[in-house]
Symmetry: C2
Subunit: 200 residues, 2 copies
């Protein structure tokens, strides 16, 4: 069995949301599993000197036009959050806390967090908001809050972001197939072809 | 007749090269003309505070891997130039000088300059190199050199870059369809769908 595809993403990234809605189906078509790895792009940007799209002249304005258009192109609902980007530390911590217990449930939570933020206009920055999204999936909110505040969870989150940076991850989504990197939701066609052909 | 599609590009941009090889055929399929508009991305970056890909940590390394892979994905030859990026002022001036005389010939020169730089490993930074590429298409090298040194040509070049910036152009390729902007060779599928459907 081939190693899983590595899928790195930031919960505040519209293109990460698009990829999150697509990546499992693309991988499954080619008999591959996906390892979901939320990261904190703000931490990554501090290292690389990059900045979030909205703050960049011209490019930022274009991005706000491209987000909904690209989502619609992929047949996905999208609503531009009024607070954007946001801190996603609580979301990432909740993910890794849950993943240690139930990887499938963690993935469902990740998708639910994305949809809360980019479809239902829920600001998922606070631990309470994250726990609220988890509660809708049947998790116990106080357990989630305790879990994401746990030192082990915080250390795990930090470690995963460091591991991602060590692999060269600098954006969201960032997909590794057997070490081959693909950056951006606009590389999903290439991801699919790479899986089908093993490269070109 | 609909207005032409506006195609902005920098001669030092690998993604611009990919789009240049594709855009006319895509437009023709939908009965549209293309207005080719070379720009000077270095001048644009001074305004926007952006920088060329190779200088950016992690992203620059990724780009060097993505250029040839994306070219091959599109069925195009590609050779990473050893000097990259380069000044393309001479190339842009030669384009506008020739366009004022023969727009079709100017487009052929643009493609020839791209292929010289990204396929045949010819550094097209100098006026002599640009005139050399033009000479292979049957132009008289001393005429090209005189033309690109002409004050009218220099003013025209400056004006076109300013006009592009006024329209929000911040990267290469940058395509405007009836005012709708598409940035990047990875938006060519969306460009095609937009032309076919008028939007979504």
């Amino acid at each position: 069995m081939a190693a899983p595809i590595e899928f790195y993403f930031d919960f505040s990234s519209p293109y990460g949301y698009i990829a999150a809605e697509k990546i499992d189906a693309i991988a499954a078509k080619h008999g591959r599993e996906v390892l979901w790895r939320p990261i904190l792009l703000g931490v990554v940007f501090k290292t690389t000197g990059m900045q979030a799209l909205p703050g960049i002249p011209l490019k930022g304005q274009y991005a706000l036009q491209d987000f909904p258009r690209s989502a619609r192109y992929h047949g996905l609902p999208f609503h531009q959050p009024s607070v954007f980007p946001i801190s996603t530390t609580a979301a990432v911590r909740a993910y890794y806390w849950l993943e240690a217990r139930d990887p499938k449930a963690a993935r469902a939570l990740a998708l639910a967090l994305y949809r809360a933020y980019f479809v239902d206009a829920i600001d998922i920055a606070s631990p309470d908001a994250v726990a609220g999204v988890a509660a809708k999936l049947g998790h116990v909110a106080p357990d989630v809050l305790a879990g994401l505040n746990d030192t082990a969870t915080k250390d795990r989150t930090k470690l995963e972001v460091e591991k991602a940076m060590a692999k060269g991850v600098f954006g969201s989504p960032y997909i590794l197939i057997d070490g081959e990197p693909f950056w951006g939701a606009d590389r999903l066609e290439q991801v699919e072809k790479w899986l089908a052909t093993g490269g070109w």
